[in-house]
């Protein structure tokens, strides 16, 4: 019974992973799910560094990308029958490539955390991205390297012609990778990674070399980033320099941070949000990167622990059964907030559009009309003012729901 209760969240996770294509089976949906699957593993591996181990990396794409390149090369070797195994093991090729790279790079980059580590990771990232354009025969230059996943022995008759077959394979790998990354946090090395993050000096006085602990986290992180790279290779059947450069490194930082560092589930949330934004929002607006940038900066400023942290802010209220007292304040504040948001978006889009009539939600706006602008501006200002008025009430309600009376204890 205890086992079932403990693993219930994992069973739910597995069921969700497996059931998704049953509900959304369009080509677009499957392709988005595949991207999410890859992003989850990648973002979780990043969180092992930054969230769990306190190492801010600007070059995590290196392990993802190298894993991916080796995986594509392995696909090609399967195709030309240099090696012979089923492509379902391709993520392992990526994993061990990532691990090897991390073993080497970590041996000198994990001396220090903080700024020095961040700078080394940036340097290594730029170094490898730039080198990849020089070494054409391995990295394929700007065009990248492509492969074909349909060769090699079939897996119980599945040939992986379709994306949905890859999705199930990816889902399996995502589940395994997530589980092992979670279990890692429960081991002495994983727990000491938290301790070194919090206080590397004190960790040394309880018998641990801070550097060695960082090195272990770093290698594990490279290993799992490599799995993500391998999944990428399987899904897209090609990989380019872009997958190991600073853009990809930056994106994974955004995912983990927006989702919430320090919480295991945070990067999963971040991976889902960012991938959805990337694939859905980009259909509606070419400015989605601007919105992403704004969202990221606002997250850093106002939700330093990300979306997961925001959810966890309600843990005490939840335990005390006071969550319902927050529904109304949230609802009331959300009306002017969403008005404000919509007005801002309308102004941003109107100033950018080149069309005569701008279709926004159900409305048709005239982007060159003064009246349209004044009205939108008025809505933005007044709703902002309303939010300012309502915010203290929301804060009060939240504090009432979250304050533990002296005698009540905060047991788990």
């Amino acid at each position: 019974m205890a086992f079932i209760r403990k693993s219930s969240i994992w069973i739910v996770y597995l069921v969700v992973l497996l059931a998704l294509p049953q509900f959304f089976d369009s080509v677009l949906a499957i392709s988005i799910f595949n991207q999410i699957a890859i992003a989850i593993v990648f973002a979780l591996s990043y969180n092992m560094l930054l969230g769990q181990g306190g190492m801010l990396s600007f070059g995590h794409a290196v392990y993802f990308g190298l894993g991916g390149f080796l995986a594509v090369h392995a696909l090609n070797m399967i195709e030309f029958e240099t090696i012979y195994f089923s492509i379902i093991y391709i993520p392992l090729v990526g994993a061990f490539s990532g691990l090897l790279a991390a073993l080497f790079i970590g041996s000198f980059s994990t001396h220090k955390a903080g700024t020095v580590f961040a700078m080394i990771s940036l340097g290594i990232g730029e170094l490898i991205a730039a080198s990849s354009l020089i070494f054409d025969s391995f990295f394929g230059g700007e065009a990248g390297v492509s492969g074909d996943r349909t060769f090699g022995p079939s897996f119980f008759g599945i040939e992986f012609f379709q994306d949905v077959e890859i999705y199930y394979l990816a889902a399996a790998w995502v589940f395994i990778a997530t589980l092992f990354m979670y279990l890692f946090t429960q081991t002495p090395a994983g727990r000491m990674a938290n301790a070194v993050r919090d206080n590397p000096e004190r960790a040394q006085f309880i018998g641990y070399s801070a550097r060695k602990i960082r090195y272990i986290s770093f290698c594990a992180s490279g290993f799992f980033a490599g799995i993500a790279g391998g999944l990428f290779a399987l899904n897209y059947e090609f990989i380019t320099e872009e997958n190991l450069n600073a853009v990809t490194s930056g994106r994974v930082l955004l995912m983990a941070y927006i989702g919430g560092l320090g919480y295991f589930i945070g990067p999963i949330i971040g991976a889902v949000i960012l991938t959805l934004m990337n694939s859905l929002l980009s259909n509606y607006s070419e400015l989605w990167m601007l919105y992403l940038g704004i969202m990221f900066v606002l997250t850093v400023l106002f939700l330093p622990r990300g979306f997961a942290g925001f959810i966890m802010m309600h843990q005490i209220a939840w335990v005390r059964g006071k969550l319902s007292s927050l529904v109304m304040p949230y609802l009331i504040t959300s009306i002017p907030s969403s008005l404000f948001l919509m007005a801002c978006v309308a102004m941003i889009e109107m100033s950018h559009t080149e069309e005569e009539v701008f279709h926004y939600l159900w409305m048709e706006l005239n982007p060159s009309g003064l009246a349209t602008w004044l009205i939108t501006l008025f809505i933005a200002c007044s709703s902002f003012y309303a939010v300012r008025l309502l915010l203290p009430q929301l804060k009060d309600a939240w504090e009432r729901a979250n304050t533990i009376p002296e005698k009540e204890s905060f047991g788990k």
Partner: protein, 250 residues
Amino acid sequence: MTVLSLKAVRKNFGETKIVRGVNLDIEQGERHAIIGPNGAGKSTLFHLISGLYNVTAGTIEFKGQEIQNKPPFEISRLGLARSFQVTNIFARMNVFENIRCALLWPNGYNYSFWHLMGKQSELNEKAIQVLEQIGLEDKMHYPAGELAYAQQRALELGIAIASNAEIIMLDEPVAGMSRSEAQNTVELIRRVTAGKTLIMVEHDMNIVFDVADKISVLVYGEIIASDMPENIRADSKVQEAYLGEVTINA
């Protein structure tokens, strides 16, 4: 038996000589207090013994093995634990995890990434025992950074004693505490360090004379006296150099 022995230990920071040739022997089971005016080099001496700083010259022997200039984690593994003057805990982890982490190495888990901590019942029981000793068992799920000051000091002590080390070094364990808190902490120190070697830096003379059975006086990086409490109190050199500014009425 001498467990810790410092011979002509020196430490310079650039041109400044902070520790200027310290010789000190500490016997097994001794409760040894190091006192001295501000800036005498007491904390520096602690940092040298525990490996945070490298010595400029001299040797430090722990059970006959030279430990000077070894990294802190190696010294800690030999059985020398310490606490810090400024609270030095793992702020974002909860109280239980703070203690459990301190127990890992002494219980042979090393760098394991194949044991699941939840399943190590013996380890978890030991952690609870330590928490009971320091009186924080009802706060075990609180993030350490959110504890009250005195509780953080108790946790600081708990991390130091959890390893069951032979030598425990406490750097101003009651600094910043009220009289009653300090009294409680002294009781706690007595209880948890029973049967072990204790080295302590402390400014509160009442506590020093209460706890210590041997006192060394460090002035300007040199030990000017090292003796039983009653002899220290009578020592004219000490009176002149140090105690002149503080009257002792233990």
